[in-house]
Symmetry: C2
Amino acid sequence: MKQNLEIQIENIAKLAQAASRSLAALPSTVKNAVLEDFASALLSNQAVILKANQKDISESPGKGKAFIDRLSLDEARIKQMADSLLDIAKLKDPVDEVMRAWNTPGGLNIQKARVPIGVVAIIYESRPNVTADCIGLCFKSGNSVILRGGSEALNSNLAIFNVAKEVMQKHSLAEGAINLIATTNRQAIGYLLKLNDYIDVVIPRGGEGLIKKVVRASVIPVIKHSKGICHVYVDLDADLNMAQNICWNAKCQRPGVCNAMESMLVHRDVAARFLPGMLKKFKEAGVQIRGCALTRDIASWAKQATAKDYRTEYSDLILSVKVVDDLDAAIAHINDYGSHHSDSIVTDNNDTAAKFLKQIDSACVYLNASTRFTDGNQFGMGAEIGISTGKLHARGPMGLEELTTYKYLVYGSGQVRV
Amino acid sequence: MKQNLEIQIENIAKLAQAASRSLAALPSTVKNAVLEDFASALLSNQAVILKANQKDISESPGKGKAFIDRLSLDEARIKQMADSLLDIAKLKDPVDEVMRAWNTPGGLNIQKARVPIGVVAIIYESRPNVTADCIGLCFKSGNSVILRGGSEALNSNLAIFNVAKEVMQKHSLAEGAINLIATTNRQAIGYLLKLNDYIDVVIPRGGEGLIKKVVRASVIPVIKHSKGICHVYVDLDADLNMAQNICWNAKCQRPGVCNAMESMLVHRDVAARFLPGMLKKFKEAGVQIRGCALTRDIASWAKQATAKDYRTEYSDLILSVKVVDDLDAAIAHINDYGSHHSDSIVTDNNDTAAKFLKQIDSACVYLNASTRFTDGNQFGMGAEIGISTGKLHARGPMGLEELTTYKYLVYGSGQVRV
């Protein structure tokens, strides 16, 4: 017999699917009005949200500074959440766009039309701002959403969710359009991941452990938003000043994010010219270096890197460094040790650049630029639900368009197959 | 400790991934030459292939006529396989196509470029011609392929595969470009589905049992090619002659395929005018009818339909029939009982048509045409690997383009994020 929680989760998914049918037909003007009202309501309910957030923070002692920083809300952050919703309202609605249309010799008119995916489940870390962003992006793209945020942010998420819910009710929208799984019981995720009759895609954002667990347990298609082990490779033919700027930016400008550089590769023939100045600069910025033997010949103060270091997303002022024999070695290392997120080469050699761009198997491959640009806003897509590190359906920054699929509309006048 | 078979499967997957790196860079001219050579070699090795096929057939007694028909090869079918490869050689190579390119305000040039998915595993029924088609399509789209065909076709598949292998070797292509799991041990699939470090997508084609098993066991993303429970809905405002032609074609022209009609829905206000003639025609064609109570009021000879009937892909001269109250009831029935493959409405009412096309949640939705057109060739894509009944990445007919993904190539001149 099914447990109470299992039945609850199933009911949420059923309501979400029912709502998705009507959301798919909602005009952009209505969707935008709802988003604007949600933005205003966040501001007018600021006190309630901040109080709930204070409760979350007070119940998370000993969680570490970075964790508490991601969990914390203040007036400025609530303003950011509201502004983000207003930005989403301004973005072009992808639904119903005819991607391609053609006529067959038999006289059928075929239209490949963009439609919402249906029901999107998102499992994410304890960052309350993600709750508002995900509601905004899924709603604008015509999808029902089922949210499961980190347990430590439950009160904040509920407060934000209730504000959205009230706005949805005011606009008489279907009950299941937005859903929050408001329990810290971990079994809830297990139940959710079995419901492929109702849920069309699950997007897990977070650490490797969570992603692996979701991939293993889910019968629903998964678009994973996993770690970013991003590389910059400083080539034999690099402009070494440019390389220094790019590497410094990729590591230090915001080390806690997934598009920051975690590993720096240097061609052996420029190592002696490049590394001393670069490593000195990193040392001054407080970056801890974990290097290969050749790196440590140049900077004896650096720690020895292990194989594990080259597979680690530090999200911190720590950098693994490796001197490589040539371009092929750099490419092989990145494809093997990286996470297929964002990788960059610094070189003035066109042939070298072309080979790197072609052979690196990552969502975003850069020539002479910092990996830090992998971001929906930087790419001009507007807000993003995250960065997909999978290869199917969506790769890299995932915005409104990536929250849609398509169907073929075929217009005939009595055609039959002969 | 890993078993022998598990290690073998893992080695196949590793070689496939290694090969995929070089396949991604192979020029179209080389790929087309290989495909043409493969086509010739199939013809010149006809005797060997037919002998292997005879062995398969003789080892499959009592398997039923339709099964043996799908398993059997003859000169004409080998010619078809060869022609299909020549067709694939003529199709436009999707790899490296720039899907979109733009400049950011900061001066980055971003190109969204089509690239092969990488390693594609295909699990399919006992149809040897699929072996050649899948090799052709995956190779042309720059992917390594791992094939696991039905056990009963193993000798035929091996014979075809060996012909392809020899051609690949003649052209000095990487060993892992094409792979066949040449064992009837069912554990092989279980091992295969765990290898998400090497395999990028698995495409199961076949019955519901196989699809469910693969979806449950796989940690690799799955693009399912499941059953087609296709509907034609005859509306209140239908041209009833047209409706009769379309329904007859959708059911009878080739009942064994996935885009044939399995269920016919009729608006109650036209049932008395439409059903008597239509059902008589079906009866004459040997179609067994399983109808609702209202259907049986008109045709008392029809069997009573059960709820299970409406969820069944007969792939045969059997049809479930239901009289519905209105358009909404038709839409609800199709979205609930159907398989999201291909569904058609016959109507002259534009508003009714628009609502049906919008609200039916299927890969292909037709107005005034037979469902039988859901097919890569009919859609003008050329050969297809199958029809995806999932919503992510590829929906409906899946040709060369759907065997690719994309990556972002970002060209800078020293840009860093501020």
